[in-house]
Point group: C2
Chain length 362, copies 2
């Protein structure tokens, strides 16, 4: 699958094959609503220009410099560095869909890479918008845990890499919105209750008022396909890491509570039949459709996930639904089925694959 | 269920309980597309004004006069006469949904009734738009058979009832469009192929050019819910019964052939996946929906019927789909479930009942 020419650089470690990454586990605190938590630290090296204004040679030099130091023994995490130039587009798309790299890093022409652990709970992007973006993932709502693990890795990196830091501003970053702690704590929330009851805008506005950023995980603009939202702190400067952690934990906790209350309302009284109808119809589509777009799949899987969490459906697990969510995306679909498919054939293959993954095949 | 007051007229025979009527059998020639054929004869008695201009007393007199002669032995059919005043609204609706009486007869305030055989293949409406409307049903495309059976009954009725007839015009009828033979031959066709491929308007126009009337069986105006159409001769005057029969047989035969060709196209090449998708999704809705309107049920059952006819689905029979078509209608639904339900509860009960009838319950 690699596009390396013969005699080119020696092969880098391959990205991990398909198995559950951290966010897929369906475990952790508040996992009925909080899918996973991510800590992200933005770091830049002294003596190099920011990634966004590098010449090609400078980018290569930076990448080589960082790569050497990431590979040196002694880090608290065991990471395998993958040079993204050694991957083809499909393999890079797979990494994007697994949340290990950003779409920007995948598409960039610069020398760049990502260092990942075998569990996919740690991923360090090299030469994204910032020279280094340290990411740590954990299932459920765990801002403290991801922050602590990220901090430990950051401490080790600070030992071996000269980071750009100012007494006045803290860590310097390519975009000023990350300056200071460089810390973004984000939680992936599944909010079908708030979406179905049309309270999501109210919830989003409330979150924004307390300086949280809310965006749809899938889809563009304001459309959140599959009812998945990413909620994160907007402020990196002027609040320390403990405060950010606590802010996110409390605010997300409130959203989780709100979602639970709305779900109860949707499953009570006269609203209940319509909610059940919607959940079971989604299952019917997953069981029977012969052509299934990624968009429709996300919507159906969201309904299924709600049905499982609320104990309305037997024979399905959250881990399988999460797996289906991942596999329904174009890169994974083609990677998993080992076929390069045009869009229409992909929609047919998706319908079939999801039945296999969910165990409701006919 | 009857609204008779104590001491009122003695009970008339009850309308038949639920079991397959003739049009439900799914048998007969061309039954993949032609559901059933009906012959209808319009007859009026000498010495009585047309039903539409009767005074109440005159209607009663006519009804009594006809009833006595229908009950007298010696008819070639064994018919039980039901006085529609002895039925409540729900029971009358059931008869309408079974195609035994018209909605107009059900709603009329005049003395009126219907004489039905136990197979529901013969139904004589008394005091509809005409004094008598003889109807004979047979499954599939059988214009000759229904005409012959209707003719035999008509001959016997002519012996015992003085029918209005003119040398110049033939049988006289309340509406001039029925004058002459008074014969309307109609075939109920299931045309999902023509509808799905958007050729239905072309087909309808072609039929109209050769003097056939085409109308949707369910739904109002041009909307034909469930893709069921009723095709009948427009001309009753100037063509004899043999010619009408032959006209309908040939013209409907052509529509049947057209539908078959279109179905083949829908199931070939690049159209096939979309057609399969539509059929299987309909099944998914029938299997899983918790709330199902009569309208949506008709659409899904139409797709299911097509899937069975084209051998794309196992485990279902046309007879069961026809049964489900009947039971999905409000009157039957409430009669069968012995519950009087508001619309929303009806939609829930319908979803459940159809799964039971189709044997795909969960």
């Amino acid at each position: 699958m690699s596009r390396r020419a013969p005699g080119d650089r020696p092969p880098e470690p391959k990205p991990p094959e398909f198995r559950p990454g951290t966010w897929l586990l369906g475990t952790g605190p508040e996992n009925d609503i909080a899918v996973c938590t991510r800590a992200r630290l933005a770091r830049n090296l002294q003596g190099f220009r920011f990634s966004t204004c590098q010449a090609e040679a400078e980018a290569k030099e930076l990448y080589g410099f960082v790569a050497e130091r990431l590979k040196a023994p002694g880090l608290p995490e065991t990471l395998a560095l993958v040079d993204l130039d050694t991957l083809d587009e499909l393999e890079r798309t797979v990494l994007v869909e697994r949340h290990l790299i950003s779409r920007e890093l995948a598409g960039s022409k610069r020398a760049r890479g990502v260092a990942v652990d075998t569990e996919e709970s740690v991923a360090v992007m090299v030469n994204e918008e910032d020279h280094l973006r340290v990411q740590v993932f954990a299932p459920g709502l765990q801002p403290a845990a991801v922050w602590q693990r990220a901090e430990r890795l950051d401490d080790a990196l600070l030992q071996r890499l000269p980071m750009a830091w100012s007494e006045e501003f803290g860590f310097l970053t390519s975009c000023p919105t990350n300056t200071g702690t460089g810390l973004r704590l984000s939680v992936m929330l599944h909010l079908p209750g708030l979406v179905w009851s049309e309270e999501i805008d109210k919830a989003t506005n409330t979150a924004q008022k307390i300086h949280l950023a809310v965006r749809g995980l899938y889809g563009e603009g304001s459309r959140a396909l599959g009812d998945f939202y990413q909620v994160s702190n907007q402020v990196t400067l002027g609040r320390d890491e403990q405060e950010i952690q606590s802010d996110v934990f409390l605010a997300v906790g409130r959203l989780v509570q709100w979602e639970r209350e709305v779900r109860q309302a949707l499953l009570s009284g006269s609203a209940r039949p319509r909610t059940l109808d919607r959940i079971h119809r989604a299952l019917g589509v997953l069981e029977r459709a012969q052509i299934l777009s990624s968009e429709e799949a996300l919507g159906c899987l969201s309904a299924l996930r709600l049905g499982i969490q609320e104990r309305l459906l037997d024979g399905f697990t959250i881990a399988n639904v999460n797996r289906a969510l991942l596999l329904s995306q174009p890169g994974h679909l083609q990677r998993f089925t080992k076929e390069r498919l045009p869009a229409e054939a992909r929609d047919q293959r998706r319908a079939q694959l999801l039945r296999e993954v969910l165990g409701c095949g006919r």
